[in-house]
Symmetry: C2
Subunit: 357 residues, 2 copies
DNA sequence: TTGAAAGCGCTAACAG
DNA sequence: CTGTTAGCGCTTTCAA
């Protein structure tokens, strides 16, 4: 932890906006600015006593380095641009927590952006990141409902030498082209299905996804289809529901899970969906797991506290953040290996939302 | 929404890191860099046809403005530093959502920091913000358990001309010194007590806070003490519990709410506390509201979905963010009025967690 | 309406 | 070990 104190940030002599520069320090000590620069940056070749004097004088004058100037020369801004795909999802709090812990110690700062699943907004922020000269970019890329994305732009940015780390999501068309940290979404779903079928005796399964169908969700979809086939569970086309942001419509769609011939268990592929599902259940006065068994994604604390504690596929979200940040820092330190794809494992937390049939 | 396309970000001639500058544009057009600058910034005094040609050429060459260079001259970085006091609290997701919506349209970017209630970490980030030349700072200041804070530093920063907007919390010692956006915490608690006593017949009340005792919590504490007095409710010293981050200890402390002579209703003053309380209830097999009535702060969706939907003091969090950002943008635009203190109202959402006595 | 020149604050050769 | 010099990319006078 850096303990730091602006002893003399206060304005002296009423000269409100007089900014102290290394020249001021140099002048005060009758030396050259470059020596001051060397001393302040702990570069070799400054006599210890002089260095000490310089640092003291800097402190005394309330000197603050200007990163604008510094970056202009060094081409490093010590900032990492991070794009969140949906600011309403608590997933990103944990993610940011993990990222920040790593970056803070390396003195990297976070330039935060949110795409809210809008490809154009994402593009705008990517441009802004470039303008601000971020040293690296972390992104969970979104896509339009038509499948459009910013892959081309990201390729160009990468070619420019800006390291990119994808987290949570990657590009199907370019699996190994970028560094990435994801979880094994396919396997997570398959394990859940195994549990539902083998352990709990379910035969009719449903799946609930949300627009847009990004990589992560496609993988879960694939896991669902193949998992059902492998473990011999039935699924119908209309048991796979894709929600939007429209809560009214969502409830309408979710009703079918609770209807006569619906599935006996359903997998809710994110936090928002789980809430929509529980809301619908409450409204229809249906009981979990008696009327429907549920497995949720994302283990938020409340999943444990609901009337029926929810069985959950727990993603190591903080770890995703940490790994992504460590990966980024490695690239920034000049690690030159081919793109790495870290795939973390999720864990099935068994609670009480799945009924034994 | 800015629709933007790097037609020519791609690398030409294998010259990977050749950065296009206004000089390149100028050279290509046989004009002076200053003219290019004027054109690109839509400054007056460039013939329309020339301006058009310049912009086209810029696009063609894949020009990206350098904010490091630009800021060095203009002293504006178009970034706002934002410090969150606790990244685990979903409050900040809504807050950031509100902020970002406003800042995005004004092309301000967010430099994100988290203090996690650590005064020294907060100080470090404030220093970093200064080094990076943020145009403004938004902060919900934390304090040590000994009451220490960064008020002095913030005063110095403000004197330097960097606008500061406090959100959610302010300084008791300096109420009107900074712009701020908060909610009426005092009144929120009083209203809750009125509801508990007058409407629901409770006479013995408890309160649950969390370290550190920042402004917000002090106000809630004050509201609790005075509200109890005003409406004639009893409260004992050990019915006012202050939690820490230590979940084990917390549960121990919370138990007393459920014991024989404890209060009949308790107000949980944030999201985390509510969860701890529900967890404890579940563990002790106590029922809400039969064994204890609860009013929670922060209306997260799950409050509605619990077995007993939780009666909640709903803070207009997104609005706090929006207002804080609007305030900031106003200052940045040069609004010169005395510091403004916006106090928003919270709302009591009545559900089923309070028993009628 | 455009050009020339200076300089924001810093670092990095190159000298000494 | 320290000084000199040049220049990062941009804007902003001042001049033409």
């Amino acid at each position: 932890m850096i303990i730091w104190f602006y002893k003399n940030l206060k304005i002296r002599g009423g000269n409100i906006n007089k900014k102290i520069t290394i020249r001021d320090i140099a002048r005060a000590l009758n030396i050259n600015p470059s020596t001051v620069s060397r001393a302040l940056n702990d570069k070799p070749g400054v006599k210890p006593e002089l260095k000490k004097k310089i640092k003291e004088k800097a402190e005394e004058l309330g000197y603050i380095v200007s990163f604008q100037a510094k970056s202009l020369r060094t081409k490093k801004t010590m900032t990492i641009g991070i794009i969140l795909s949906d600011i309403k999802n608590p997933f990103f709090l944990d993610f940011l927590d993990g990222v920040e812990r790593v970056l803070f110690h390396r003195k990297y700062k976070i330039l935060l952006a949110t795409s809210n699943e809008d490809v154009n907004k994402e593009k705008t922020y990517l441009k802004w990141f470039l303008e601000h000269g971020v040293d690296g970019i972390m992104i969970s890329p979104t896509c339009g409902n038509d499948g459009s994305n910013n892959l081309m732009l990201l390729r160009q940015i990468k070619k420019r030498g800006v390291p990119i780390v994808l987290y949570d999501r990657k590009f199907q068309e370019a699996e190994t082209e970028f560094d990435s940290v994801t979880i094994n979404n396919y396997q997570a779903i398959v394990s859940a299905i195994k549990y539902l079928v083998k352990d709990m005796g379910h035969k009719k399964l449903g799946l609930c996804l949300i627009e847009p169908m990004v990589y992560t969700l496609k993988e879960r979809y694939r896991g669902f289809i193949e998992g059902c086939k492998f473990f011999g569970a039935k699924h119908k086309e209309n048991w796979i529901v894709i929600l939007s942001k429209d809560e009214e419509k969502n409830m309408e769609k979710l009703k079918q899970f609770f209807e006569e011939s619906g599935p006996t268990a359903v997998i809710a592929s994110n936090h928002f969906i789980t809430q929509q599902l529980l809301k619908t259940a409450k409204k229809l006065n249906k009981k979990i797991p008696d009327d429907l068994s549920i497995i949720a994604f994302d283990d938020n604390i409340e999943n444990e506290l609901y009337e029926t504690p929810i069985t959950t596929i727990k993603q190591p979200v903080v770890l995703i953040g940490k790994n992504a940040a460590i990966m980024m820092v490695g690239r920034l330190d000049g690690e030159d290996v081919i793109p790495q794809n870290i795939v973390l494992n999720s864990e099935l937390i068994i609670r009480e939302s799945v009924k034994k049939l």
